[in-house]
Symmetry: C2
Subunit: 226 residues, 2 copies
């Protein structure tokens, strides 16, 4: 499937396959860029750091976020295996990045030749990733600007289910309720209440392990996401 950007004369590797899905890279050939393992909750980079490298998630989950002066936090994205993050237009990182779970990362220096190296494959992947990031950001603006707490949770659960490519309807959320709250523009309490209410209404089930969620009524959830 050819995509618009590819068609626009940009690197044609835009095999965006399913929009929003993070596939484990098919291209596993050797690439410049070493591996790095970070423990859960460990910092990867901070706002203002020199943006000398960018990263690709191999395994685990990463969050990128910004803070207001008084500590309010907005998590702009959770990065799953296959996702690229930390690439900046300017010289410094505009976000903080931390591992949500233990994570394995591919670190890439942002030197021209390093990327041009493999025939531009990584460069094309980067552009594709940027495009996916933009689309996700756009979807998320709709969520933050116009959806109710209930709708935000429904949307989030469906999105995570799709991205984590869990064939079934059960998914294990890698992040805490607080992380969800700071991603969805809510408080922890509101997240908890909305999740509980979705369970009461039978749209989802919550096994004793609170990180687990079973999607019981995909259609109703999709309606809530509109």
């Amino acid at each position: 499937m050819q995509t618009a950007l590819a068609t626009a004369g940009l690197p044609p590797v835009f095999s965006t396959s399913l929009p929003g899905r993070a596939l484990p890279l098919p291209t596993t050939e050797a690439r410049p860029g070493h591996r790095r393992i970070v423990a859960a909750e460990a910092e990867i980079f901070a706002e203002g750091d020199r943006a000398g490298s960018f990263y690709k998630v191999v395994s685990g989950v990463v969050r990128t976020y910004r803070l207001l002066a008084d500590g309010r936090r907005q998590i702009d994205a959770f990065h799953l295996p296959g996702d690229i993050f930390g690439l900046e237009a300017g010289a410094e990182h505009r976000f903080n990045a931390e591992a949500v779970t233990e994570a394995q990362l591919e670190v890439h220096r942002r030197e021209p030749r390093a990327l041009a190296g493999d025939g531009g494959a990584l460069a094309r992947e980067v552009v594709a990733s940027m495009m996916r990031g933009l689309e996700r950001a756009q979807d998320h603006m709709m969520l933050l600007g116009r959806k109710s707490a209930r709708e935000r949770i429904a949307t989030f659960l469906l999105t995570m289910a799709r991205r984590m490519a869990c064939g079934g309807t059960a998914l294990e959320l890698p992040m805490s309720r607080t992380d969800m709250a700071d991603h969805l523009g809510l408080t922890v309490e509101s997240v908890s209440r909305a999740v509980t209410q979705l369970e009461r209404d039978g749209l989802i089930a919550l096994p004793p392990n609170r990180r687990m969620v079973v999607l019981r009524d995909m259609e109703a959830l999709a309606d809530l996401s509109e």
Copy 2:
């Protein structure tokens, strides 16, 4: 100033100059892509339309937005002269686009050769624009997720002032209060109240023409934007 992406081996035209500023293109050489004039409030394309072209604003202002099933609207961005919009990864437009004011557009078909044509200058411009769009979206998520009505208005006014490159402190907003509301995740009434309150507090002045705003206390406004 070299930028990260440029450094990353991508098209090196990333002269993102000042982040967030829309300059009137310096490169005015002939380009494939014809002009199109749209009247104020006229539709440019709709969600679901085949995304055969993308656009660059020459003059005027354009809004792109999406609707929820029940009509709630989220304006993801206002596009000012120099901005590119309507470029999609998929085959269809994911947004609606309408002219806010009468606008002059450069229409570009998204064919490979059309872009490769001028030595890739347009292609590089497109990537740069995508990156700027992503940064704006990220800033906007912070606004929508975590800022109060007052803070949203302050942030919006400062951003528009910067983007419209009005040397002074007076700016003429091209859009209605309703448009502002649907961009800022508020209601018209809340926008009006917050604007009025900023005036009472002396941070801005409102000439009788309600589209005009004078920024009286940039520092206080900046503090509100944090």
